[in-house]
């Protein structure tokens, strides 16, 4: 056994002492010959004298390092060749570096977001409970559902609940900060199998209703470093959230960012302790608040189906007892389990698609860059035909020549890969910053390289070598000796079909990129200019939060009345209003109503979006009142309930009859409250610029039910004369003058629209950049091919001219070849575009993914540029001096 171990050691020794051992071999041979000569006649010895080199070479080959030496030789030779043409080398490496860096950079984000498992042991055993739509986020269980399911769980597999929130934390040193927080049930860390970095993690004892063992919490390693400066005495320290003081009992391990991919949970609280921070909220008893993810670990030997079946029995029984009656209609679906190895992510669905689009774009750029390098290599390889032919005729093996040529391409790829590292890092950082700029919370993605990233990187680099190195190397090493060695150097380069194919493909890929850029730009333009149902500028939004100061609703109403009065009296303010929901803010308020008593059940029930607004709201936003009247001071909490509805609401639910004075009903606590329609407004966007306009009901803010503290946070809309930004300062100071405890955040409506369009803007900007790069690279490719073709045909063209062809005919002759190529490339590109632009649909607005005008424009632009690039060498050909051309050979 293992006899090969010392053998390998000896072989390695031979590798490193190669020079000395070779000298020894030679000496041995010389001695041998001398002895032979001494013993026999001298002629006998001399006859064999020439063989010393050969013997020692054969002997040496036994060591088994010849391949390595030939590789080193190839590399040295390749490097010398690359150094000889620095222009080619730099151009090839730079274009590769850009393509590779961008592609790998985007992949590193996708890796962190989609593929990396959670930093816990055996993440593949983690499963999330789900019901209903598989596309939905996982957090759709309420606390009552969780506790009932857990209480009657008889599958033997425990599960835990986890929720996420941003929590205002008082760290006791004067700093109150909004902290990303993970809320867990007691068995979370037993199931996740995470051990504390210091202190202990939370356990079942910490999560008992009423928290008899006190409110305990865990801080993340990151927070421990930043807030507590890594001081061990942080354990046992206190923080305060709302009305509850927490004791820090442990520090989470450094790699544990939580179960939320895309966020870093700095604080971990037991759910029951969290509920104690705001006793007014029935967090633990509200069956409608579905905010928890239920997670379980299924050990080896059990299947998800079995566990799900077990849970469903319990679930069905609980439902029969109508434990979850209030949890909404979708809850009748059975439970199932979905893999949770990659964690829970609220941003995954939102970011994955744009990343895939970007990856496709950079992939296309990389392909185009590879095509260019392939063409350059091909052009160079033709120059080297004769060199290769000589080497082949001197007995070099074809495989050996092929390997040498491939080594050269590999070197280019490796240099490009090395140069791509800073590009990749910058790309990852830039994209993260871009994603962050559009998010309302801190985004954390662990983009540290792992084996997936490295494998992808190596794979992509290998693919590029195959793409641009393989064909030229294969072609040259297959060269026909007779042809290559004959004097006619024109004939040997006659076959340029591969070059044409490459350039055709380039044109096709460029068309896809160009079309993507055109579609996205067009739709961004539309998004920026279409009428969303309200004005886009001269609007200022002030989010006013009074939760820290006033607690009585009557006070709040008076406070906002005062506030609006003051704002309206500011110079430069045209009008001002307040609302519960800001349009395009991403939030919605939805409600069910009933139309009439005499209708049948299903048609009677309607669903509508809702906003609570003050008088002057429509005037301020610029949404015209089509019919009826605006709200006024008379529409108060004590007056009859009234509403203004939008045109879609009328169209969908009320038909053609005059809807003014019509009534619909709200069901509250089994009672039907009538609401009278007093006006109709023009349709306006609600959640975002791109979401369909929903049926919308507007109601006076003073008639907002007072059960919850909804009035404590309202938004002011202010229509200004001057640019909105100019009034930010004065408006910000007014709430503070009325009440020092009130906090105000000011945004312009423009910036709200901008953040609405963030992904469109990002994709459009990048697609234009990629489209331009693709265009330039393709133009270079076409130019190269054309110049090469003209150079090759110079004598032929000379003869044609000598025989009477006009420059115009020559031009047409040269260009016709490219026209065919262009046509083929465009056709292929069109086919590919139809397939690929479909994936852009999610970001296209007001334009079809196959818009004929844009397709036509893209084709025109690309054709013009490709023809222009081809024209430069063609015109040179047309201006040839026939005598000089014929002498060319």
């Amino acid at each position: 056994m293992f006899q090969f171990v010392p053998e390998i050691a000896r072989r390695l020794r031979y590798l490193f002492a190669r020079k000395r051992l070779e000298a020894e071999l030679r000496e041995e041979m010389e001695t041998h010959l001398t002895m032979l000569a001494e013993d026999n006649d001298p002629a006998h010895g001399r006859q064999r004298l020439g063989n010393v080199t050969r013997w020692s070479e054969i002997s040496r080959s036994v060591w088994g390092w010849n391949w390595l030496e030939s590789v080193i030789g190839d590399v040295q030779y390749g490097l010398r060749l690359l150094a000889k043409s620095p222009g080619f080398t730099i151009a090839a490496c730079l274009s590769l570096a850009l393509g590779l860096g961008a592609t790998i950079g985007i992949f590193s984000l996708m890796n962190a977001l989609l593929f990396k498992p959670l930093p816990v042991l055996h993440p593949e055993q983690l499963w999330g409970l789900a019901h209903g739509d598989p596309q939905q986020e996982e957090d759709n269980f309420s606390y009552p559902m969780f506790s009932e399911l857990q209480r009657f769980n008889n599958t033997g597999v425990p599960f835990f609940a986890v929720g996420g929130d941003y929590v205002q934390v008082d760290y006791g040193d004067g700093s109150i900060r909004n902290t990303p927080t993970m809320l867990v049930s007691g068995s979370a860390f037993q199931i996740l199998d995470v051990k504390a970095y210091a202190g202990r993690m939370l356990g079942p004892d910490d999560d008992i209703r009423g928290i008899p063992h006190g409110a305990n919490c865990i801080v993340s390693y990151r927070l421990w470093q930043s807030q507590f400066r890594g001081d061990a005495s942080a354990i046992g320290g206190h923080i305060t959230i709302g009305q509850q003081r927490f004791t820090i009992v442990g520090i989470a391990p450094p790699e544990f960012f939580g179960v939320y991919v895309g966020a870093y949970s700095d604080l971990i609280l037991p759910i029951t302790a969290y509920a104690a921070t705001n006793p007014a909220q029935p967090l633990l008893d509200a069956p409608k608040w579905t905010w928890l993810v239920l997670t379980t670990r299924i050990p080896a030997g059990m299947t998800a189906q079995n566990v799900a079946a077990g849970l469903n029995t319990t679930y069905a029984a609980l439902r029969r007892e109508s434990k979850f009656a209030d949890s909404g209609p979708a809850r009748a679906d059975p439970l199932y389990l979905k893999p949770l190895a990659q964690g829970v992510s609220a941003i995954r669905n939102r970011f994955a698609k744009p990343l895939y689009v970007l990856l496709t774009m950079t992939g296309l750029i990389l392909l185009i860059a590879c095509a260019n390098i392939a063409n350059l290599l091909l052009a160079r390889s033709v120059v080297r035909y004769r060199e290769v032919a000589v080497r082949l005729s001197l007995g070099a093996e074809r495989g050996r020549v092929f390997r040498q040529l491939l080594t050269e391409s590999t070197l280019v790829a490796l240099l490009g890969a090395i140069a791509s590292v800073p590009v990749y890092l910058a790309c990852t950082k830039g994209l993260l910053a871009f994603l962050q700029s559009g998010a309302d919370s801190d985004i954390f993605l662990n983009t540290a390289p792992d084996w997936r990233l490295i494998a992808a990187g190596v794979g992509i680099v290998c693919c590029t070598v195959l793409l641009f190195g393989f064909a030229p190397a294969l072609r040259v090493s297959r060269c026909d000796l007779n042809m290559a060695l004959s004097e006619n150097s024109q004939r040997l380069a006659a076959k340029t079909s591969f070059g044409k194919f490459v350039v055709g493909a380039q044109i096709g890929f460029s068309l896809v990129l160009l079309l993507g850029a055109a579609l996205l730009s067009r739709s961004l333009y539309d998004l920026r200019t279409f009428d969303p149902g309200f004005r886009r500028d001269h609007l200022l939004i002030a989010d006013v939060d009074t939760t820290q100061s006033i607690h009585k609703n009557a006070d709040v109403v008076r406070f906002f009345d005062n506030l609006l009065e003051r704002v309206r009296s500011l110079p430069g303010v045209r009008s001002a209003a307040a609302s519960k929901v800001v349009p395009l803010g991403g939030r919605t308020w939805q409600n069910d109503y009933e139309l009439d008593q005499d209708r049948d059940q299903s048609a009677n029930k309607i669903h509508s979006y809702l906003n609570w607004v003050t008088p002057e709201y429509f005037q301020t936003l610029g949404t015209p009142l089509v019919l009826g009247r605006d709200f006024s001071a008379q529409d108060s909490a004590s007056s009859p309930r009234v509403a203004i509805v939008n045109e879609t609401f009328v169209k969908r639910y009320l038909g053609t009859a005059n809807p003014i004075a019509r009534r619909f009903f709200e069901i509250t606590k089994g009672k039907r409250d009538p609401i009278q329609i007093i006006g109709i407004v023009r349709d306006a966007r609600y959640r975002s610029l791109t979401d369909e306009i929903p049926p919308t009901v507007y109601r006076p803010i003073e008639q907002l039910p007072t059960a919850f503290d909804f009035l404590l946070e309202l938004s002011l809309e202010v229509w200004t004369r001057a640019p909105a930004r100019d009034l930010a300062g004065p408006i910000r100071s007014i709430p503070k003058q009325l009440d020092a405890q009130v906090s105000t955040e000011i945004r312009t409506f423009d910036s709200l629209i901008d953040s609405n369009l963030l992904y469109q803007r990002m994709l459009t900007a990048l697609s234009i950049a990629f489209g331009a790069v693709g265009l330039v690279l393709s133009a270079i490719g076409v130019f190269g091919l054309s110049a090469y073709a003209v150079g090759r045909r110079t004598p032929e063209l000379g003869i044609r001219m000598a025989l009477g062809s006009t420059p115009g005919e020559i031009l047409r002759l040269v260009l016709s070849e490219h026209l065919r190529l262009l046509g083929l490339g465009l056709a292929a590109g069109l086919g590919l575009s139809v397939v690929l632009t479909r994936f852009l649909r999610a970001w296209l607005f007001g334009v079809s993914a196959t818009d004929p005008i844009l397709f036509g424009a893209a084709i025109l632009i690309l054709s013009a540029i490709a023809l222009g690039a081809a024209l430069v060498p063609a015109r040179r050909a047309a201006r040839l001096n026939p005598v000089a051309a014929l002498r060319h050979e």
Partner: protein, 112 residues
Amino acid sequence: MAEFLRDEIPPGTLHLLILKILARGPNHGYGIAQFVESSSRDVLRVEEGSLYPALQRMLLKGWVRAEWRDTENKRRARFYSLTALGRKQLELEISRYRRVSQAIVRVIEASS
């Protein structure tokens, strides 16, 4: 053209011959070649192009070791000698050779 009548060593037996010769004592490459020729009464001949690669291979396998020493003629030459592993290998090769050659003989006699 006397050499042309000499036979090449049958394939697979070169290691055996070298090991056997080295079993008698350390020797250099030329000495091994000479010994093969003389002891086979000039029937067998070792090509230098096979002898030295074979020696390198055996060095790698650890069957022989080499050291530079002076010959009787005061010439520096590389002397090969058998290692313990080499001795074991020799026994193995001899028994294998016997087995094969007996089998060949049997085949020849059966068919004649």
